[in-house]
């Protein structure tokens, strides 16, 4: 998600908006949040929405970790933290979906806990296997370089691509973002591959000793292979990127099916929810907001779509301004992101759905 966040940060700088407190890159820091008895979330603080949340569920015999994050040093540090929390081994990693910021840390956990098994939906397993050759090392750096080059060009020339001068605000934002890419490039050399060992199609229940974790795939949503973890005894739900705060990540999603999945999650009546990114929640309000948003987007698009319509024509007929206000609470940084995410990729995916022209994820 790095490129996207950089885009948002620069857009915010252009608009003269102070961005959230995330102004220095690496070494990464994170908060350790006790979610409930034996459940801990490790939430990155600096760029809190770049790396997925890491959650440990601790039983009397073994531990399950739900997602391992983007940054090798951070994953390693969290694995060591878990050692201090419990003398039981991490024997399961469940990967919520295939986006790098949720599984790159697998290898670092495996270095600390060699007996660990990585669990995922088959789609996720296949996507991760395809990423093997390109997620780290030179291809990783090349991709980052491609994303950062326009920023470096602007910093060097003092001019934007259209020739207009770069403001001081923008220059500061550019410098921070470019430095962030430098940190990321260093990490490309630290990344090691650890793919998936076990797949399941719909449901797998794991007894950790005194604690059950139900892993479930409830349909296509944010990706075609999302899984959630449900802890029935404590009514705790770990959502992966089916739920992201403060705005949904909807890059290559299946909006209509995602809405259906959100209603299934709603029906679980969770009392504690840990999203894929963002803070721990103790009620379902935000989950229901996202479900309502996806319902509305899908309904409007279905009503407006006519065969032959382009994605931009469809875009002009979908009005999500009320949701934009509701999600952003007057914070323009959130609003810019929300409007981009929903207005661009989410509508594109609805158009793909309605025109029957799905683009494969990852392209």
């Amino acid at each position: 998600m790095l490129g996207l966040i950089a885009f948002a940060a620069l857009a915010a700088a252009d608009a003269g908006i102070a961005t959230p407190p995330q102004k220095s890159w690496g070494p990464y820091t994170y908060d350790t949040v006790k979610v409930g008895d034996g459940v801990y979330a490790f939430i990155e603080t600096m760029h809190s929405i770049v790396s997925g949340n890491v959650i440990a569920v601790i039983g009397t015999r073994s531990i399950l970790v739900f997602d391992t994050g983007q940054h090798p040093p951070m994953a390693h540090a969290i694995a060591e933290d878990i050692k201090r929390l419990s003398d039981k081994p991490v024997r399961y990693i469940a990967v919520s979906h295939w986006h790098d910021d949720h599984w790159v840390g697998n290898a670092d956990f495996a270095a600390v806990y060699p007996d660990v098994q990585v669990l995922a939906h088959p789609f996720t397993a296949a996507q991760i296997a395809e990423r093997r050759a390109t997620f780290a090392g030179a291809p990783c750096k090349a991709l980052l370089e491609k994303q950062v080059k326009p920023m470096r060009d602007e910093l060097a020339s003092g001019k934007k691509a259209d020739g207009s001068p770069v403001s001081d605000e923008r220059r500061k934002a550019l410098a921070v973002e470019a430095a962030g890419f430098d940190e990321q490039e260093k990490e490309c050399d630290q990344m090691r591959f650890r793919g998936v060992d076990l797949t399941f199609e719909s449901k797998l229940a794991i007894d950790l000793g005194g604690r059950t974790v139900e892993l479930m795939h409830l349909g296509r949503g944010n990706t075609a292979g999302d899984i959630v973890a449900w802890l029935p005894e404590s009514k705790t739900l770990l959502t992966g990127d089916l739920l992201v705060h403060p705005f949904p990540f909807a890059t290559q999603s299946y909006i209509t099916e995602w809405a259906a999945v959100m209603h299934k999650l709603d029906a679980l009546d969770a009392t504690t929810i840990v999203p894929g990114h963002g803070p721990v929640m103790h009620d379902k309000r935000y989950l229901e907001d996202v479900a309502a948003l996806l319902d509305a987007l899908s309904a409007q698009a279905h009503a407006a779509y006519r065969p032959g319509m382009t994605a931009d024509e469809l875009r002009s007929k979908v009005d999500f301004s009320a949701f934009s206000d509701r999600f952003s609470h007057g914070e323009r940084f959130i609003k810019i992101n929300f409007d981009y995410m929903i207005g661009q990729p989410a509508i594109d995916r609805l158009w793909q759905e309605l025109s029957g022209q799905w683009k494969p994820e990852g392209e």
Binding site: D115, D197, A205
Partner: protein, 354 residues
């Protein structure tokens, strides 16, 4: 574990000596895959086969029979790699009782079973075990008495084949009583529904639920690259094992169809030798499909009770097909197929009416 159809009569102490050998052989199937196959002659009392799948860094084991301690020793001669998963193909003791032994030998092992196994182990499984612990010693004593008197269980002069079979039964009861009463019940770590796939380099190990059959919790382990399947008791040789109230003869044919649709080259049955053709599983499928058809026809013709249905079901041809001219196998067919399978099909057909 056998499903005893016999009521034990005499209460005598066990006189038979302990079995000298572990009672199984290791049969390499290629690619680091080994079947641990029972060598007992066919009989009323059985222990289960097992399968060892040795991968690059770990081992997957299918089923945890009463002979698990000896099987662990056999596996250790083959490899020092750790066992990471143990699959219980269903909840009968001869497939789960060794869970504790495998866990003790390999503390990291994850035990995998179909999701309903957990509840069965505590209810029907516990009751089965109680009945076996109470009933097996007098049963063995009765067999010994039959041999002493030179008569088979039907009171006819005993044959050499029957003598070998009874001797094996008695030894297996002894083994059962040595292992089972004091064994700790170890429940699964992973409860699967439709199945899971273990990815091991190029090898895929598919642990699949194909439908009800021998029980409602049957899993098979399918290796698509090697075309090997471990069937659990969905396939048992020389005659199927049917439990009147635990099997589902009405679903069994389509579950076997799903198994046959994989087109395995090698079947490792729950009991019996490794099968390198689909003929026997197909015969089982035909047998159960025919029983279902006959039970339906009997009910349609007005047979209202199980007893009435039994009178109208004719399994003579299948008895020849599975039993041949072996008195032991014919007896097994009568006890483990004809009686319970008709009841199972009848039960499920009555349930379907409601």
């Amino acid at each position: 574990m056998p499903i005893f159809a016999l009521a034990a009569a005499a209460a005598m102490t066990l006189a038979a000596p302990a079995p000298p050998a572990p009672g199984f052989k290791i049969e390499p199937l290629g690619g680091g895959i080994y079947a641990a196959v029972r060598t007992d002659p066919p009989g009323l009392m059985v222990d289960a086969n097992s399968l060892f799948i040795v991968n690059e860094a770990d081992v997957i084991v299918v089923d945890a029979p009463e002979a698990s301690a000896d099987m662990i020793a056999a596996l250790r001669k083959l490899t020092d790699k750790p066992v990471t998963y143990l699959v219980n193909t269903h909840w009968h003791d001869d497939h789960v009782i060794g869970n504790a032994a495998w866990r003790a030998a390999y503390p990291g092992v994850r035990i995998v079973a179909e999701a309903s196994l957990r509840a069965y182990m505590a209810s029907t499984g516990a009751a089965n075990r109680r009945h076996m612990i109470e009933g097996a010693p007098p049963f063995a004593a009765q067999m010994q008495a039959q041999m002493d008197q030179g008569k088979n269980l039907r009171g006819e002069p005993i044959t050499a084949e029957e003598r070998a079979s009874y001797t094996s039964d008695i030894a297996l009861v002894r083994r059962y009583m040595q292992v089972v009463p004091q064994a700790e019940t170890v429940l699964p770590d992973l409860d699967v529904e439709d199945g899971i796939v273990l990815l091991r380099g190029r090898r895929r190990i598919e642990i699949r639920y194909l439908g009800r059959g021998h029980t409602a919790a049957d899993l098979v382990v399918w290796l698509p690259m090697e075309r090997i399947v471990a069937t659990g008791d969905l396939v048992v040789w020389p005659v199927p094992l049917v439990g009147a109230d635990q099997s589902h003869v009405r679903d069994w044919p389509q579950t076997l169809d799903a198994l046959l649709a994989l087109s395995p080259a090698v079947f490792v049955p729950g009991h019996g030798p490794v099968l390198r053709s689909a003929d026997y599983p197909r015969a089982m499928r035909d047998l159960f499909a025919d029983i279902d058809t006959q039970v339906d026809a009997a009910r349609a013709a007005g047979a209202g009770t199980l007893q009435d249905v039994r009178k109208r079901v004719d399994l003579a041809a299948f008895r020849v097909r599975f039993g041949g001219d072996s008195k032991v196998r014919q007896f097994l067919f009568d006890n483990y197929v004809a009686a319970p399978a008709v009841e199972s099909a009848w039960r499920d057909s009555v349930v379907t009416d409601h």
